[in-house]
Symmetry: C2
């Protein structure tokens, strides 16, 4: 999103609302280069401001990254909500949320790894923590209906599955030797359904770890 007049103004570049524009550009860049290559300077260039400008709005790189991650978490929660909207069956809801999660990670390269990153935890971004919990509840709510006390275990398994689909797709592994042209969303969703079926169907012992002696 750029101000009216186009992205490339000559000379001074006055911006109405730089902070959100930086966050938006940061999100786009995260999707293209990944969290490791995330650079304040490059985001500034992308928006068309000097490399010093972001530091008027964000204390340092990590604070900025946390703000971008918080924005991503908001979008992720929304995407997951939309994906399960109108679904009654908890297995369908959990699998739908997993599919949306995988697709989001594949596209934006942000998932629970970044949202709950230990590096960003020091920044203590309130938005990030709250939205992270929102993402988790999209998974936990249907999981509780399915597995009761074993909900956390089931969520862990489904999250791992969805996260794996997202990251492998982002790294070009799934597209390399693609066996279907089915999108990531559908593949992850179907795999999650199988996992859920196997975890609950073959007995809850598949989900809950054996009690320790």
């Amino acid at each position: 999103m750029l101000v009216s007049g186009g992205p490339r103004l000559r000379g001074r570049y006055h911006h109405g609302d730089l902070a959100p524009a930086l966050v938006e550009a940061g999100l786009a860049q995260l999707g293209e280069r990944g969290p490791a290559a995330f650079s304040v300077a490059e985001v500034a260039r992308r928006v068309g401001v000097s490399t010093a400008a972001p530091y008027r709005h964000f204390a340092d790189r990590d604070t900025f990254l946390a703000a971008v991650a918080a924005r991503a978490a908001t979008l992720l929660a929304a995407a997951m909500t939309e994906a399960v909207d109108g679904l009654a069956d908890p297995a369908e809801r959990l699998a739908g949320a997993a599919g949306a999660y995988a697709a989001f990670v594949a596209e934006h390269r942000v998932g629970l790894d970044v949202i709950f990153s230990p590096g960003l935890r020091a920044v203590r971004d309130t938005d990030l923590a709250a939205t992270g919990r929102a993402v988790m509840s999209r998974l936990l709510d249907p999981s509780r209906e399915l597995a009761g006390d074993g909900a956390l275990h089931l969520v862990e398994q489904v999250v791992a599955l969805a996260h794996g689909y997202g990251t492998l797709d982002a790294d070009g592994f799934l597209t390399a030797d693609r066996v279907t042209d089915e999108p990531t969303t559908a593949r992850a969703r179907r795999a999650a359904l199988a996992l859920i079926a196997g975890a609950s169907g073959a007995g809850a012992r598949a989900v809950v770890p054996p009690s320790r002696p």
Copy 2:
């Protein structure tokens, strides 16, 4: 592994076999800092040689990284082989390989994403390609017994699951809100068993995508 005399020699540092020592140190560093932060200079420092020394043995950073990845792939294939050694049931073998994969990724931060990385594909390291196939066959062989024509789909699902467990653990997500003190290996293995059960048990339609109209 360092030459006798200890890691810290004064003055000139003569090394018997620098190349393998660099690969080994690179592997250790990969596990600590991750592939993105992988740096030739830091590996050289870790071994105790100048930052120029590695370039006598490897053309550039990517070639070096490919060699490290090839070494990792060898270890990974061995770990997976050992994990399934003596197991007859193909489901147990596939799940065991998945557990070993997850644990390896958690510890070394190298998985199929790095081994089949598009960035390293340009280097065309023969070892890397061959060992990557060896890793895949540990998963594909039992999968074929289980799913026949749907083997590739099942492997994709299991790989995504194991990769998710490995990366999330490496990023500190699983340890953060740990729900068990069960190790990653066992968790990923059990989740894989559930997935396999659900994929084959509830009908093969869970594995193979619907045929297109």
